[in-house]
Amino acid sequence: MTTEILIAGFGGQGVLFAGKFLAYKGLIENKQVSWLPSYGPEMRGGTANCSVILSDEPVGSPIVSKPYILMAMNLPSLDKYEKDVLPGGLIFVDSTLIERKVTRSDVKVFYIPSTALAAEIGAPTLANMIMTGKVIKECDGISSENLEAALGKVVSARHADLKDINLKALQTGMDYAG
């Protein structure tokens, strides 16, 4: 089984971090993984995206051009990538920042007010992890195990105190019934 994920949003929303978390979680679970960032002249407020592949077989091309999962953290990302999602795929939309609905009918869509939920739990920068929590909940190919272990790999030792709030954000996403 191969799960191809595209995470897209503004620079600063933690798009690359969420991807790293999922990749490390895959690695811990002995999956073959790849993580490929866009690396244009991006900066905070610009656009950023990353391709993550989790697979039971060696990963071929690391470029995700037809994602099974699209995590759209802002409107330009949804506009750009909605058409690329595989039929039967999953689209996760940050409904705080994206007002429009997904127009396609051959995909499953989840609207999560990630940015608003993040503010509610006192972690305004963790909308990314709330959405990631929802992805973990809804995607059969991604287990809800090893969350702490994976966080341990991506949260640097210097910021170890932030592990708990990241975990809380993941849990908030997993618990969100929308």
Binding site: A23, L27, V33, W35, L36, Y39, G60, S61, P62
Partner: protein
């Protein structure tokens, strides 16, 4: 077996170089290889090594020339425009028969070009980017694991044959993260009696030089060097063959283009087309014999490249133009999709 870690390709090169005994790094920042220099700047001071950000690429390569003359493992890294600046120094290093590693994490060109991945420095790397008759051993990693493994191998081969080696990567393999099992730290003890290390008043001094004003002497140096190149061509060709045994159509691609092509070959097989892939791991020496052998059974070849078509010349030469060779390419930082490669395979299937 050491634990697998997730690393960027650029970082894997740096760590593998350190583990291969490299303690001297000279460079100048440029996207998309800067993580390599950044990693070196963090690690080298902690292990008694040298990290030096030179004032330019030209300066960095000449520092490499100097350390190489002392017999120590040494490297530099850059991306396409920066590697162009290094060409004079690379020619001098080759002309002085010194081992060294040059890493090129390619981006689109010509000129300043862009910062997205490319393979358009193939000619420069394999045909001698600087002046004079010389070759580099050119290795082309297609995964983060190979970024590490081939770095280690490049140092060994450079020492063994006294030639500079190049790791010809691209922006994608440099920037992507994959699990990598890093090679064990090794203690290198290659005998280098030619190195300039001080005579201790016990022997005649060594001279590192590429200047030979007597033409017969210079000719002799060139002939001797090409004897070594011949040995390299006989012994160091490396490539991966994938589903080629019964293949009608053989795709030839290296680096990221090979990763994309593998997807396309798999899809072609699912659709009943007998496609296969040859992935050169060394592009100099080029796997000529492997392709020549396949030309006896295959009906056509496709060269997939992130350039306007450079390796395709070597494919044609390897098979003596005995079969049609098509080009499937993108340029300027664009990467062909598996679908584009598949279309190219189907088109050839219809034509043969």
């Amino acid at each position: 077996m050491s634990e697998k870690v997730l690393m960027k390709g650029n970082e894997a090169i740096a760590e593998a170089a350190i583990r291969a005994g490299c303690r001297h790094y000279f460079g100048y920042p440029i996207t998309p290889q800067t993580e390599l220099a950044a990693y070196m700047s963090k690690r080298m001071p902690k292990i008694g090594g040298v990290f030096l950000q030179a004032e330019s690429e030209i300066s960095a390569i000449n520092m490499v020339y100097g350390v190489a003359g002392s017999g120590k493992r040494v490297m530099t890294s850059s991306s396409s425009p920066g590697v162009s600046l290094k060409q004079e120094g690379i020619s001098y290093i080759a002309g002085s028969d010194l081992p060294a590693l040059i890493v090129n994490v390619q981006r689109g060109g010509p000129g300043l070009g862009g910062i997205q991945p490319s393979q358009s420095d193939y000619f420069q790397a394999t045909k001698g980017g600087g002046h004079g008759d010389y070759h580099l051993i050119v290795l082309t990693p297609a995964s983060v694991q190979e970024m590490a493994d081939l770095t280690s191998l490049a140092f060994d081969l450079a020492d063994k044959y006294r030639v500079p080696a190049m790791l010809l990567a691209d922006g994608t393999t440099g920037q992507m993260m994959e699990p990598v099992e890093l090679p064990e730290e090794k203690t290198v003890s290659v005998d280098k009696p030619w190195a300039v290390t001080g005579t201790g008043m016990k022997r005649k001094h060594n001279i590192i030089n590429s200047l030979y004003l007597q033409p017969d002497e210079l000719e002799k140096m060139n002939f001797e060097r090409f004897e070594r190149y011949k040995l390299i061509e006989e012994n160091e060709v490396r490539y991966e063959s994938y589903l080629t045994e019964d293949a009608d159509i053989v795709v030839v691609a290296f680096g990221i283009a090979a990763r994309v092509s593998k997807n396309a070959v798999n899809e072609a097989r699912r659709q009943g087309i007998k496609a296969g892939l040859v992935r050169p791991i060394t592009v100099w020496p080029f796997p000529k014999k492997a392709l020549a052998d396949l030309s006896k059974t295959a009906k056509g070849f496709i060269s997939v490249e992130l350039s306007m078509g450079q390796m395709i010349d070597d494919v044609r030469l390897a098979i003596n133009c005995s079969r049609p060779v098509a080009l499937c390419n993108r340029a300027g930082g664009m990467i062909p999709s598996p679908d584009e490669v598949l279309d190219s395979i189907k088109k050839m299937q219809e034509g043969i």
